[in-house]
Amino acid sequence: MSRKMIPVFVLLVIGALIVAACGQAATPTAPSGGGEEPPVVETVEVVKTVVVTVEAPAPAVTPQVQIQVAQAPGFGETLAAIQGRGNIICGVNGQLPGFSFLDPEGNFTGFDADFCRALAAAIFGDASKVEFRPATTQERFTILQTGEIDVLIRNTTWTLVRDSELGLNPTVTTFYDGQGIMVPTDSGITTLQDLEGGTICVQKGTTTELNLADVMATEGVTYTPAVFDDVNATYGAYGEGRCDAATSDKSQLVSVAKGLLPDPDNHVVMDLTLSKEPLGPVVRHGDDQWFDIVRWVVFATIAGEEYGVSSANVDEVRGSTENPEVRRLLGLEGDLGLKLGLTNDWAYNVLKLVGNYAEIYDRSLGPDTATFIPRGLNSLYTDGGALYSPPFR
């Protein structure tokens, strides 16, 4: 009898402990973990939670407190973490030649990859302190939300839902893109109406999938979508002739056609644009300092092009320039870098080690590369494009 009782009592004690643990966990309304976590982590979480709960009745509080609240959640955390770690973790595509792709030496190259390097140059004065993290379409937002990466530079379209509901902050548009349709040259397809009754290869869970349905419904063209899980499956099937056409961002079509199809010259991107696709770096909600750093690093490359400062002449310009705006940009006047939480030579480092926007663009997408895309909208506003940096002041 009494021996049988022992397990029962053990169970009872365990049960009581668990219930007690639950009760304790309930008090601080911490998002995850009960009493097992180290106390340091818990206090951080408590601070976060308090801030979030305060946000709702914020109007009732005095203005000074509001400013504090606006800055409090995670402000400066990302930069501190990056500096502590010694490198920046950058989420990239990894499958897109011209944007981010492994070269034969095993380095990530491309337009998106260079902006990751520009961030590292601004923070560390060393463009090589980047860890690239290839991400799929599906996981990209989750790994950013959970802090697995510091910034997502992965041909990601800026939309309202992503900006709000997904808890993300698109920073600046680095590449103005539009959705296009690629067809085999010998198919004779030139308009949307030619695609009547056809099949179109598209990637699953993307904005292009939705845009395609929108446009085809508006134009009254019936078609069959063939939906695939990743870049390689989509263009593999298209290359085999499974579909009449493939649709995606034009930049992706060009780079994929040049990089992944066996017969790139037999395919052409149709002369029509289905949608606006502004692509650029994305950070998560909650750290405004990091948000500012990422967007101003991009602006620094654009300003560099505007004032004719490149990696080749930046030292010379630094020694001779009289232009106050350039002097502020290069850290000769004022303390713009300190305001961002960086050093004053942050923009100098970006321009010296990575280059200005034109250099970054031409290195990966310029006329001398295999993945040439005309600059079009991605020219300075002075050249009829959409690139426009706010003043450095």
């Binding site: 639950c22 939670t49 899980d229 085999e240 499974r242």
Partner: protein, 395 residues
């Protein structure tokens, strides 16, 4: 002894030493712990989601889906709701599951019987088929069938026409298909009448057989009745109820007939042959479980091999076959979710798209799990009912 025990109970053992009470207490405590853990996890998830500004609920299923689906058995377009998209996926799963079960069963029985054939070549071929298919992962088989077989078929311009006007291209396989004419609905009514008549004939003959002790060819006569009525109806109607629509190449596309996409074909073929290998072994084991004496007895009664199989072996083998067969059917339906990798829009594929476009991960995954659970329970309920019917009634 008896008396003393009852006395002891009456002299009231303290509650905490009463074995019956402790047993119940133990179970109650276990349940309480389980509920506490589950409740804790759920509350944790809800707190997390509230902090990210997400709510739980299925209201979003009424929102506009916004994406298109390649193959749908019910009307669907981009302005349909997420719920409709989900139903499209569910029906596609049902289609591939139903056809897959039918084909896998037929192939499985054939190869199962062939495996114990006395013909050496037939036996070895069946063994090779089963061993090959059973020992490669289904996912590998599906991707092989899709990327190395169906996508590699000739392009539309060089389409291959098989006898019976079946077109083979890498856009899919097109088979001839009937198009209903005005008399089609009338013909359907004639067919329904034929089915009823066939059942009546079968019932009558079975009753007659039981009365006289002679075995009339019940099945043959009822099928003949149905076929006879079908043929007479077809000829008697002024217009034939279906016109045959053979597929053809029209420009760069296929036109006419019934077009089956490469994704569908690869999935159906892969699931069917993969599962058939397992079913073949189940069938073989079932047949071998019938004792040799039964076969010898049947032979000495003068039954032919086919008759022996049909009337002696199978009825007894079924009780061994049906339970493992049920789990093979369940596997087939669940394995259809692997289609997500070759792009056939079945339940899991469409749910993934809904999840991605609506951002409702928890709800969609829960819904998918509940749906597969329901399909599996339904299938096994049907098979259990059938199992009770074929069970050996011991007298």
């Amino acid at each position: 002894m008896e008396k003393s025990r009852s006395l002891r109970v009456q002299s009231s053992i303290p509650l905490w030493r009463d074995e019956r009470f402790l047993r119940i207490l133990g179970q109650a405590v276990f349940l309480a712990i389980l509920a506490a853990i589950l409740g804790y996890l759920t509350r944790n998830m809800l707190t997390n989601m509230r902090q990210q500004g997400l709510g739980l609920g299925f209201d979003f299923m009424r929102l506009t889906a916004g994406f298109d689906i390649g193959e749908h058995l019910i009307p669907y377009d981009r302005s349909s709701s997420f719920l409709r998209a989900y139903q499209v996926g569910l029906l596609n799963t049902a289609l591939v599951g139903g056809l897959g079960i039918a084909f896998a069963t037929i192939l499985g029985v054939i190869f199962g019987v062939a495996q114990i054939s006395s013909n050496f070549l037939v036996q070895q071929l069946a063994r090779a088929y089963i061993e090959f298919l059973r020992n490669i992962p289904l996912l590998v088989l599906l991707i092989f069938l899709y990327t190395a077989v169906f996508i590699k078929l000739p392009r539309v311009k060089e389409a291959v026409m098989l006898p019976g006007s079946v077109l083979l291209t890498n856009r899919g396989v097109a088979i001839p298909w009937g198009i209903p004419t005005e008399t089609f609905s009338l013909y359907v009514r004639i067919l329904i009448l034929g089915v009823f008549l066939a059942i009546a004939v079968g019932g009558l003959l079975a009753w007659y057989g039981r009365r006289t002790g002679r075995a009339p060819l019940t099945l043959l006569w009822s099928v003949l009745t149905l076929v006879g009525i079908a043929v007479v109806g077809w000829v008697a109607l002024p217009d034939s109820p279906l016109t045959l629509d053979p597929p053809a190449v029209q420009g760069l596309r296929l036109a006419g007939g019934r077009q089956l996409s490469p994704e569908f074909m690869a999935l159906l073929l892969g699931l069917s042959i993969y599962t058939s290998a397992f079913i073949a072994d189940v069938v073989r084991a079932g047949i071998q479980s019938v004792s040799q004496g039964q076969v010898e007895a049947a032979k000495s009664l003068g039954l032919t091999t086919i008759q022996t199989l049909r009337m002696v072996i199978f009825p007894q083998a079924l009780r061994v076959i049906v339970p493992p067969l049920t789990s093979q059917y369940l596997n087939l339906v669940k394995n259809s979710s692997l289609a997500v990798l070759i792009g056939y829009p079945e339940l899991f594929h469409v749910s993934g798209t809904i999840l991605n476009q609506s951002g409702r991960a928890v709800e969609m995954i829960a819904l998918v799990m509940a749906t597969y659970l329901a399909i599996s329970l339904l299938t096994s309920a049907l098979m259990n009912w059938y199992n009770r019917r074929v069970r050996l009634v011991e007298r």
